[in-house]
Assembly symmetry: C2
Homo-oligomer: 296 residues x 2
């Protein structure tokens, strides 16, 4: 079954799904995106992703291309046509197509909307979570508005590739003061020796991850002590546990940092519990009926 | 006559010129570009643009999509088919099309190449140079590899739009120490009270502009004193003259900075002389024959 993409009003086989070369997403990285999980034929945390999308669009002064309800219909139809039961939806909105010029085009230019979906192998993902992953650390060299989920991801691409080159899964960015900001495509967490869950405050230095919010709720429900603050690489190395969060990875244990083993080098109990109870705190909605039905 | 674009081996009417939605240029800003001037049916500074393109590709570990000679043929054909005599060529190379994943795709994935051309109205450009332009200043909030000419241009887009919103033509980025780095799409210059030409050294804080190099040569030929160093906004405000350089703007006088008039508010003699002698120092090559013919 070929994968199907939605592009500006049409559903097309992915190989035929194209945007004009003067789309500002292509020439200027002038666009935003979201990645949502599909699990057991249900859409995870749609409302929170749509709320963040609206914020991203507003920050860049790109107008919303359609209502949230209509976007929900498009996402569902893309998943349905692509026959995805376990996987992810990718949604991108750009400032549209216009003759190349840095300044914004006229207000009549319609934003572009692309939605794709692809399957994720749950067994492979479960194995990764069971074993834990390695991270490296790198200086955070990105621009100062990483709180907006834009497609200007080249620094993230290079950081992730540096991790892969080093035999690791993810790269953690480190700010000028030696504190971890976040991963190239994930938020970063530790569990201290005292059992306190720590992640950086979602100021401008990081993206406010949807999975990050879900894990905060899961931690609260389990009465895990929690501090929203920055932590250094040294503190992470001395931590009892560490993990990543992202819609594509959920809660993923970190077992080495820059080649140094954390604790006994195995995923820890707090991380495992948070992963195990993740879906108790995520919102889910069916793919095959209207978005109004049965949230959670 | 419709504009024509070259896209991955084919010449197409611009409206039909498209790239796949999973092109990494679209999803990750994982690509580089060049803008070359076309003047009187000749290609300006092709050799220097191609050398910079090679450097950009090498920095991102994107392989060259074809030889420089072949790229030269494609650029000429795009200009010829688009019937451009005065205008610009836009050339973009990305890491190609692959299922979305931050890390680099397999080495077999071919880079994507897009070339477009469009006309510039010489009268409008001349008028702008005669009157001079206004610039505003903004904190430089970009990533630390702006020396690479990538399509991750969203910060530049937002800065240029801020200038337009303020009734200005360009925004100058200012570093944490109060020194001007460069414009959103131009290099920044001043002429001091002593008549010395000053522009920032092309370290990692700025892009090494091709027109910047041409103006350095033009200044040397005119025996203008020259210093390659940073300058503050205060020094620019006290300068005798200021100007911008870019392939699309050549040498463009700045007459106000943040609303403050420079000198008598008119383009100065040093700037005018450098603009007037620009093409004596640029390299030109014909569009309608092979690139080996008649450089300069």
């Amino acid at each position: 079954m070929p994968r199907v993409a939605y592009v500006n009003g049409r559903y097309l086989p992915l190989r035929d799904a194209a945007v004009n070369v003067e789309d500002r997403g292509y020439q200027f990285a002038d666009g935003v995106y979201e990645v949502c999980e599909v699990k057991g034929g249900r859409l995870i945390d749609e409302r929170r992703h749509m709320a963040r999308l609206d914020r991203s669009l507003a920050q860049l002064r790109i107008r919303a291309p359609m209502t949230r309800t209509a976007l929900g219909v498009v996402m569902r139809e893309t998943v349905r046509l692509s026959r995805i039961d376990e996987g992810i939806i990718y949604l991108q909105v750009t400032r549209g197509v216009a003759r190349r010029d840095h300044g914004f085009p006229s207000a009549e230019v319609a934003p572009s909307v692309v939605v794709t979906a692809h399957a994720i192998d749950p067994a492979r993902r479960a194995k990764r979570a069971e074993e834990g992953v390695a991270v490296i650390t790198l200086p955070d060299n990105r621009w100062d508005r990483v709180d907006i989920k834009t497609v200007a991801l080249l620094p993230n691409v290079l950081a992730r590739q540096a991790a892969i080159d080093a035999g690791a899964y993810e790269a953690w960015f480190v700010d000028d003061d030696g504190f971890v900001t976040e991963g190239s495509a994930t938020n970063a967490w530790i569990v201290t020796g005292e059992g306190t869950l720590v992640t950086r405050a979602a100021d401008r230095g990081i993206l406010r991850g949807i999975s990050r919010g879900v894990v905060m709720e899961a931690g609260a429900a389990q009465r895990v002590r929690f501090e929203e603050r920055r932590f250094s690489v040294a503190e992470a190395l001395a931590a009892r546990e560490a993990f990543l969060t992202a819609a594509t990875a959920l809660v993923l244990p970190v077992v080495t940092i820059d080649g140094n083993r954390l604790g006994d080098g195995k995923p820890g109990p707090v991380t495992r519990a948070l992963r195990g109870q993740y879906y108790d705190h995520a919102e889910t909605a069916p793919i095959r009926s209207s978005p109004e039905d049965g949230t959670k």
